[in-house]
């Protein structure tokens, strides 16, 4: 590979009399480290850091890929966003999606984790089942769910008919589409949340429970005063990760509804994809990306604050 064998301490080879320039000396001393880090650093520089800079630049242009001249528009893309009803719609859809998904995932993930702490074969087997959807492609399983919920061929419609009901178009009804997509997202991620919270639960020292029991605490009080406070850092971390992921939701929406009906499931990234890769308004799409970035930063800061991360004892 790129890193060639590099000898042991290089400094000893520098002749005492010869004065090397600082940069050259640093290179001789550190070249092993730089060679080892080079492939990753190059890729990160070229395909992450530089594109971040470029992304902000594009957001100030009316950029179209391949055009010979790009028109500078200053902050117009951002101003236009503020006047775009579709933007406010997708912001709202994204926030509803994130808040409902994350709270349901945390509640159900916690319930599953605390009910399945035992190391018995049965608890382990149920944990494996709950975890399984985590490894499956959202795109693929989203398609399966779309068929499963289809009013004419889906299992859900079939069961509804068996009980004498009229099949419901879960993804076709403007009021039901978003809750349905949220349900599938929660279905997929409960196992993920459960595993993170299980690791946190295992880390709570047993003597805390013993001390609380001696003080006369029972089941609910143990949860309220021992488990939840000790779990706070893990809950915070899980909450932040799930929030960041939910705010970036694309696959499920694209596969299940493509943003419809009536844009009721049109999330920010779905809008970004449409603007950037279907309408080729790459400047406008870049502005959406930066707004998304700011929202993610804001949401993370808010959670740190709400959970008072700093005074965790």
């Amino acid at each position: 590979m790129t890193a060639s064998p590099v000898g042991a301490p290089v400094e000893t080879r520098v002749a005492p009399r010869r004065r090397l320039h600082g940069a050259r000396r640093a290179w001789l001393r550190d070249r092993a480290a730089w060679l080892f880090a080079a492939p990753s650093l190059l890729i990160i520089a070229v395909f992450i850091i530089w594109p971040i800079v470029q992304s902000f630049r594009y957001s100030l242009y009316d950029w179209t890929v391949g055009a010979s001249e790009q028109q500078w528009v200053g902050l117009d893309n951002y101003v236009q966003l503020l006047h775009d009803d579709l933007f406010w719609n997708s912001l709202w859809v994204t926030l509803v999606f994130a808040v409902l998904s994350v709270s349901l995932q945390l509640v159900l993930g916690y319930a599953a984790a605390s009910a399945l702490q035992a190391e018995t074969w049965l608890a382990k087997a149920v944990r494996s089942v709950y975890f399984f959807p985590t490894i499956v492609a959202l795109a693929t399983i989203g398609m399966v769910w779309r068929f499963l919920l289809d009013p004419s061929i889906g299992l859900v419609a079939g069961i509804t008919k068996t009980f004498g009901g009229t099949p419901i178009g879960w993804l076709q009804d403007p009021d039901l589409a978003l809750p349905t997509v949220i349900f599938v997202n929660v279905w997929k991620n409960v196992g993920f949340t459960m595993v993170i919270l299980l690791a946190g639960l295992k880390g709570i020292p047993g003597h805390l429970y013993e001390a609380a029991r001696i003080d006369g605490a029972d089941g609910f009080r143990l949860t309220r005063h021992v488990t939840l406070p000790s779990l706070r850092p893990t809950l915070l971390l899980a909450g932040m990760m799930l929030t960041i992921n939910s705010l970036q939701v694309f696959d499920l929406v694209y596969v299940m509804t493509t943003g419809g009906p009536l844009n009721r499931t049109d999330t920010l990234v779905n809008m970004l994809y449409r603007e950037g890769f279907q309408y080729f308004n790459q400047g406008y799409a870049s502005a959406i990306a930066w707004v998304l970035f700011l929202i993610i930063l804001g949401a993370s800061a808010l959670q740190l604050r709400l959970m008072r991360y700093n005074d965790v004892d």
Partner: protein, 272 residues
């Protein structure tokens, strides 16, 4: 804490949950063996009335499925291999070789973890367009061939490997490459397996990346291809369900054999 919940209620709820998790998979596999008429006539059935293999026959004949499968194997396989190699080399430099600029490098890695992937999507698309790399394997693979998260995870692990090991090797005359290859990598096998499983799962399942960076059907990966064909109202559901089942098989088999690495990938994420 189990004393407060009555075991019967608890296990009933857990069983209902497990059923809700499993039914879609059973229905998917069942549906891949059903005829279109069977699906329309008996939507309430979970399993086929009279199983047929036509879904599995048509998926290879009517869709460029073999090509999509090959693309997925190349994209996820090669990228994972490069990613684990580059991540671990960079992590070795950060964990084991003190050098000027180490702190800056580490911070760059952390910063890139915070910026959402979508911010770089459009500039990278334009870069690949300018390079003529859109719709090529190198365009799909090289920008994804390292991951800040993998570097971070492996660095944390390498730091915990006793330094006496490398010092002993150094005294025996080993250079950095030999120390990395013969001492650090073998001691870090579980961490490397965890990172590899995490990367492979993410890449195999990725939709947005292959969807944007390719534009002909012969370069599509499985998730992108199935999505496109499902969106074009392919009339035969069994074909798409057969495709979905086949595309799940590799990861499901890996999960059955090495579940702990999948779980470790998530659990270490949570513990930092």
């Amino acid at each position: 804490m189990s004393t407060s919940l009555r075991p019967i209620v608890r296990w009933t709820l857990l069983a209902v949950g497990a059923l809700i998790v499993l039914v879609p998979f059973v229905w998917m596999i069942g549906g891949s063996f059903r005829s279109e008429a069977d699906l329309f006539d008996n939507p309430a059935r979970l399993l086929p009335l009279s199983p047929t293999l036509h879904g599995y026959q048509s998926v290879w004949n009517d869709l460029p499925f073999a090509r999509m499968f090959l693309n997925s194997v190349v994209f996820a396989g090669v990228t994972t291999t490069l990613c684990v190699l580059f991540d671990s080399m960079c992590a070795y430099a950060l964990a084991r070789i003190p050098f000027r600029g180490a702190k800056l490098c580490f911070w760059l890695v952390i910063v890139t973890l915070m910026v959402p992937f979508q911010v770089t999507l459009i500039p990278v698309f334009i870069q690949l367009f300018d390079l003529g790399w859109l719709n090529t394997y190198q365009g799909l693979i090289i920008p994804r061939a390292t991951s800040a998260f993998g570097i971070f995870l492996l660095r944390q692990f390498f730091v915990s490997i006793p330094r006496e090991l490398d010092e002993a090797a150094r005294i025996d005359g080993a250079n950095h490459w030999q120390t990395y290859w013969r001492i650090i990598l073998p001691s870090a096998r579980p961490a490397l397996a965890t990172v590899a499983v995490l990367h492979f799962t993410n890449l195999w399942n990725d939709l947005l990346w292959p969807l944007t960076m390719t534009n002909t059907t012969d370069m599509l990966t499985l998730p992108a291809g199935l999505t496109l064909f499902a969106g074009q109202h392919v009339t035969d559901h069994a074909v798409l369900l057969a495709g979905a089942t086949i595309s799940l098989l590799p990861l499901a088999a890996a999960f059955a054999l090495a579940q702990r690495y999948f779980v470790a990938g998530v659990a270490t994420t949570g513990l930092k």
